[in-house]
């Protein structure tokens, strides 16, 4: 007979860690991006578009977006767990959040690769 200890299975540790790792990824991207934009400010459409022209920049920006959406999922899940006590309503809202974030990720890919 296995006795399960409620606090001993590390439920949530993975999410806790992902929230922090994704935060560090985003913070790094944002600091470098803002610094680059301040040093070399794009003055028109062509210069702004060229910022995202290199493949590595598109990939770095996509990593930023994927970190953002995963981070947002954990945050929204926490908010829904705290304030929506009806299981059915919470599940429904969580599904809406996940679907939105997956759609946003596809949208981000489309934005970056149709320049």
């Amino acid at each position: 007979m296995v006795t399960r200890v409620v606090t001993g299975a590390h439920y949530g540790l993975k999410d806790w860690l992902i929230q922090r790792v994704s935060a560090v990824v985003m913070a790094t991207y944002v600091v470098l991006f803002v610094a680059a934009m301040l040093v070399c400010t794009p003055a028109n459409y062509e210069e702004w578009r060229d910022v995202f022209a290199p493949q590595w920049m598109r990939l770095a920006t996509l990593l930023f977006f994927l970190s953002l959406f995963w981070h947002a999922w954990i945050g929204m899940r926490d908010i829904l767990m705290d304030y929506v006590s009806s299981t059915a309503a919470r599940l429904g809202l969580q599904v809406v959040v996940v679907l939105l974030l997956v759609a946003y990720a596809a949208w981000a890919v489309q934005i970056l690769w149709s320049i």
Partner: protein
């Protein structure tokens, strides 16, 4: 059995939040706000990147009353969330967990968010 008659005090208009609690709830509110308006930011990014006409259109939006208000609001949400998040990462690393330093860093986070928003606001309006 857990006690069922524990005292509750949930009068939101009378609870006095300590500064760290204020920073914490604003971190949650700013995150929720940015999630709510993520579609608008993606739409703006797409507009600026898809064509010169879209770029001009987005620049026009950024100069409109609604656009300035939107960007200022999102700007505060981002900066508060950013600085409060860095503070939480430091707390995770057991840096600044004493009451005095936790209060001081909360004031710093609040001030940086507001100062950053003022800089952004002045350059926008």
């Amino acid at each position: 059995m857990p006690p069922t008659n524990r005292p509750k005090y949930l009068n939101l208009t009378q609870i006095r939040l300590p500064v760290p609690a204020l920073v914490s709830i604003l971190h949650r509110i700013s995150g929720f706000g940015m999630f709510t308006f993520a579609w608008a930011m993606l739409w703006l990014l797409q507009l600026t990147l898809q064509s010169p006409e879209g770029y001009t259109q987005a620049a026009g939006f950024a100069q409109s009353w609604v656009g300035k208000l939107f960007l200022t609001g999102i700007g505060w949400a981002f900066m508060h969330h950013f600085f409060a998040g860095l503070r939480f990462l430091l707390l995770d690393a057991h840096i600044g967990t004493e009451l005095q330093s936790a209060r001081r860093s909360s004031w710093v986070v609040l001030a940086l968010g507001i100062a950053g928003t003022l800089v952004l606001g002045v350059s926008l309006w």
